[in-house]
Symmetry: C2
Subunit: 211 residues, 2 copies
Amino acid sequence: MARPREFDEDAVLDAAVACFWRHGFDATSIRDLVGQTGLTAASLYNAFGDKRSLFRLALERYIAGGIGPRLARYEAAPPLDGVRGYLDDVVARSLDDPASKGCMVVNAALEFAAQDAEFRPLIIGTFARIEAFFLDCVRRGQGDGSITRAMAAEDLALHCLAVLMGVRVLARIRPERAVLNGAVAALLAALAARPEERLDGAADRSERGMT
Amino acid sequence: MARPREFDEDAVLDAAVACFWRHGFDATSIRDLVGQTGLTAASLYNAFGDKRSLFRLALERYIAGGIGPRLARYEAAPPLDGVRGYLDDVVARSLDDPASKGCMVVNAALEFAAQDAEFRPLIIGTFARIEAFFLDCVRRGQGDGSITRAMAAEDLALHCLAVLMGVRVLARIRPERAVLNGAVAALLAALAARPEERLDGAADRSERGMT
DNA sequence: TGCGTTTTAGTATGATCGTTCTAGAATGAC
DNA sequence: GTCATTCTAGAACGATCATACTAAAACGCA
């Protein structure tokens, strides 16, 4: 009974993601969005609300389309392969991107940081998901003997998260394969169980007073 | 032969650092700076040039006052203590800061990233200095047996740099002692020489085909 | 075909941005 | 004390910002 929408919401949101991802929230103007999405300011406001709402939708779309699938892709992998796969994936995409946009969530985290109550939960929650993924990998790896038990699983997971964020930062200013791979390679070597840990899983476990 | 300046340039620059550090470049307005520095827009422009020039001066002051002294403080320490000291210092200051401003250089790196030709060299150069510090620690540590030789010194240094940046990002959104210390603790444990590496430095070196 | 609705397109609005201009006040050199 | 110079104060400028408004055009359904 009314005129149907002429544009594809998903395509518009993708364009919004591209704008916000590249330039951030503040540096992206409504005019930029109008230009990139191809529709008018009135349509944007009518369909998505104000700029903050559109940013939230774009960020959620980025997370749902970028981070979610990546987590799913490696959650069933062998523990060390899961960590390696996730990080290699990030490195590969970082090097593939000529604009060096990094991670939109990390960028948003630093742009809004602690001061913005609306976006904080989404940002923190996303990082918590990634940390939980790493923690799961580490725990499984410590269980099957592929990841060192010399450090607490929680600390190792945080360590992975820190390296991931460091890679995201480095990728924006020094997007060189040697740099990103070097940081990741050292992390993976640090995670791997020491040779003496791998000789006998059961002996090792009892030796450390577990079970 | 003319009226002397009534304000202290260093104090004004400190106020500018505080503004830019907390809010970044874009989100800091000249009016903010006028309010925080106490002098007028005309005086600001007369003394420091435009907003970009003032930001550059503020960033250089931040680096000279924050990062430079920290590097100097630990460059003569035993290798592992140098890395630990630097990172513990960063963690302590991050937890001390109620505004969770993180590192002004990291913030600037993500705000300007690759697109800004003027600030890139300063940012990249600063990170290079920190990386060189880590590399020096690692090389010395590998030499005296305190740091593992299981990984290339360059990769270990990049690893340290990535963790440092990760801590800077984490500190802005989750400034909790357990989080930051956990990430750092795992890094230090990863850097430390394995027990079997420490039994005999000379034997270890020949065993790996060095010298 | 024509009505009701919702889309478009483009302009208007008030706020704020970085920057500059116009004064006048204050200083050092003579 | 006077002059040249440089400071301060604050208004003013044009540009751009996010957003709202005014019409006209386009559709689904009767």
